[in-house]
Symmetry: C2
Subunit: 467 residues, 2 copies
């Protein structure tokens, strides 16, 4: 059985289950069961987040899931942005609750009442924390594994600073951190500034990290928000300055979710299934013994190889299942996206070699026993880099410069369109193309004329169909 | 400031906040914010769970939080046991939900509909999974950090087997696993079989792991349940046997929670604050430089020591804060329960030594620079063992054999009481003493006469006030 990626949407929906990431049969819409293999990949990603954010001076915390209606309503724009899409807890046992509770859709309104207690003086700043939790959104649109869910595995970092400039520095640091995450996950991206009508509810401005799926639709996989004092004022997050005056803090957030795994699945996978970047693969090398007539010898050699690789810190699995053919095992591990397969049989043993097979290129590489460990390490690095490079190349191909409104419709991906920046022209672009302005790329300036009003501009809008 | 442990309840409530484990000011009853230090300890415990349960053949999964009312109601006893204490989600946005959802109070009713899909044949058994999640109980009693909360950090392992006997073997394995956890956390315990009226709703029988807090009240810190076919029948968890017949699976669970941290706080702490067992301490050794007149030299030496200890895999922190005295730092790290302090000053440098101070005994131990790493490793092991041994000794003292109903009231801890085993006498013991039968210790048989009916018996009941 193959998984033709041509019909991407169908391919995606099938492969997330077939590869053992999730089970979608859970009887609540938009909530899936994470199976062991999927959860392990997500945990490898989470653990990298823990490592890198700690390295950059963040502390991990864990806030309650439930937020009282009264706290939730303090920031007016924020509540307007979320009120239609939160789940409400109204009863405990048989009692109606005095104050209704919401399931967090994000944690600003849970955290900031505490920030106002924690932050007293300039010495308490910057405050940099993060948490990895489940969040909930009452999505009414069609749901899709990892991409649009009602329960979402979520990462959120929240910071508070003395000045707007220090908050801006934090966002620069966030971008630095993101670059390392992108490399680890081999995910290509462009950073855009969201249009004003599309920013996070309560933010001064929002940056989105956008990637493009094989369907040509964009997927927002991380966001950085500058809040300025928009939350610190209603939540009374004040600090005593060195000059004795009180000042409201300036805040930022950095958000990511299981969408990252959705992007990995969609961008790297092929007709045989997933391809998991070696850096986060639960199994980096799978050993498939091809025992022939020398079962015991080959199995013994396979175990020796496994132990050698374990000692080298490589995540290795020996598939010594008796009741499956090597062919079936190849199929199975290719579907699950293990980046490197090691085959060993009697003839290889005679030749004092193993055969390595790359999941990304399917290339077969014989390696002598004396050098196979070094070769594996090299190949894992090469696969990681190749996945990233070829995904970036694919992404770049899907971004097309367009100078007329009529050409936007044909673009299977992102149309880069001159735009004067006005809300009026922005909405007209969206209405006439039935696409969205997903934002303005932060590092692109290009002279042109707004496709609506014709005004000269050096601003480019990315126009696409987002997930 | 000291924390007199004499008034245990007050001590406990203060120290969990003062030591930076939680912030209780979150504006929902029974839901606290985990601060970085508390969360790190809990994560060290969680990661040990991941390691040991994986080693024993369990896979980690993650199920949705929300359970449809319709699934929740399938096992009659189970729903009766929980219906008064679940939180209900009734609305999504402004819509009333067609099927109300509960926040999981435990995950049987979320998992078992999926088990019935996953389990087809005997080859699918045993199925052994676990998850680490937040659960919710609408507690109406007084809440207490880690011990009785409305949001609980929870560990649950669920297994399915071919036969009742195989499920019994699983429970033996659970006890083996528990013994290793107890050693890691330095927690003394007794395992009891719960009285029939006190078992888990839906279980054939329940075992509780009980410890005793300094207040004399017992705390249940783990449970193992034998479900037999009580859930597999309503949830249709059937498998095809080798003989071609269908049979319902036999199931067990193993549950633990943040209560373990509550027990660690309560049992090991003293008037100076926490004492965290070295095996799970986020910081095992804190270096406090006493710079005197040689600031640069002492700080440089401190950094050298830190780097040496890091290389040895010891979790070490150098407290080089400028604006605090060594005395303040001693106080601070003692409060947080760091098991070993390393002091270094100009005179120590002259003598080519460091001074080690044990948190558990407050003993000061000079160690020569050539041997201090080995000495630290030894001492961390000794502290771990000492904490466990002295806690076990304290616990044993709090269990008193009593042969008359009138003597039970005076026992500050557990009264071990002869009991005929009948429900009638059991309830009378509870009514007359205003205590509870917390269970029958599984490894104690002792001839005596039931304190109510006078019948000869070799069954002993543990009678106490539980948390």
């Amino acid at each position: 059985m193959e998984f033709p990626k041509e019909n991407f949407s169908e391919w995606y929906n099938e492969v997330v289950e077939a590869a053992g990431l999730v089970d979608k049969r859970y009887p609540v819409k938009g909530m899936h069961v994470w199976r062991p293999y999927g959860w392990k990949i997500m945990q490898n990603i989470d653990n990298f987040f823990r490592e890198i954010f700690t390295r950059y001076g963040h502390d991990e915390v864990n806030f309650p899931l439930l937020i009282p209606e009264t706290e939730f309503q303090k920031e007016a724009e924020h509540i307007r942005g979320f009120e239609d899409e939160v789940f409400w807890v109204t009863h405990g046992g048989l009692d109606e609750l005095d104050v209704k509770l919401i399931l967090r859709p994000t944690s600003e309104t849970a955290m900031y009442p505490m920030f106002s207690l924690w932050i007293r003086s300039h010495a308490d700043l910057p405050l940099k924390i993060f948490q990895i939790v489940n969040i909930f959104r009452y999505e009414t649109k069609q749901t899709r594994t990892f991409i649009r869910m009602r329960e979402v595995h979520f990462f959120e970092a929240h910071t508070a600073h003395r000045t707007y400039e220090e908050a801006e520095e934090q966002i620069k640091e966030d971008i630095e951190i993101w670059k390392q995450i992108a490399k680890k996950l081999a995910l290509p991206y462009r950073i855009v500034k969201k249009a004003d009508w599309d920013k996070f509810p309560g933010a001064v401005y929002s940056l989105g990290v956008e990637t493009i799926m094989p369907s040509g639709r964009t997927l927002q996989i991380a966001t950085f928000h500058q809040y300025g004092q928009n939350f610190s004022k209603p939540y009374e997050i004040k600090y005593l300055k060195e000059d004795g005056e009180h000042e409201y803090a300036h805040q930022t957030t950095f958000g990511m979710s299981e969408r990252l795994l959705g992007a990995i699945v969609g961008i790297h996978g092929d007709d045989r299934g997933l391809i998991i970047p070696p850096e986060i693969a639960p199994i980096q090398v799978v050993i498939v013994p091809i025992v022939g007539s020398k079962k015991e010898e080959v199995l013994e050699e396979s175990r020796r190889i496994r132990d050698e690789l374990l000692r080298e810190g490589i995540r290795v699995h020996l598939d010594d299942r008796d009741n499956y053919t090597p062919g079936y095992k190849f199929y199975d591990w290719e579907l699950r996206g293990v980046p490197l397969r090691l085959e060993i049989g009697p003839r290889d043993m005679e030749k004092n070699q193993v055969v390595l097979v790359r999941r990304d290129t399917r290339e077969k590489i014989p390696a002598k026993r004396e050098e196979y460990v070094a070769r594996i390490k090299e190949l894992l690095g090469e696969i990681q880099e190749n996945l990233y490079a070829r995904a970036e190349e694919e992404m770049a191909k899907k971004i097309k410069e367009v100078s007329s409104i009529d050409d936007i419709g044909d673009v299977q991906g992102v149309a880069a369109v001159p735009w004067c920046g006005s809300e009026e022209c922005g909405h007209e672009i969206e209405d006439r193309t039935e696409k969205k302005i997903i934002g303005v790329p932060v590092d692109v300036k290009k002279k042109g004329r707004c496709v609506i009003c014709g005004k000269e501009t050096d601003t480019v809008a990315f126009v696409a169909k987002p997930y």
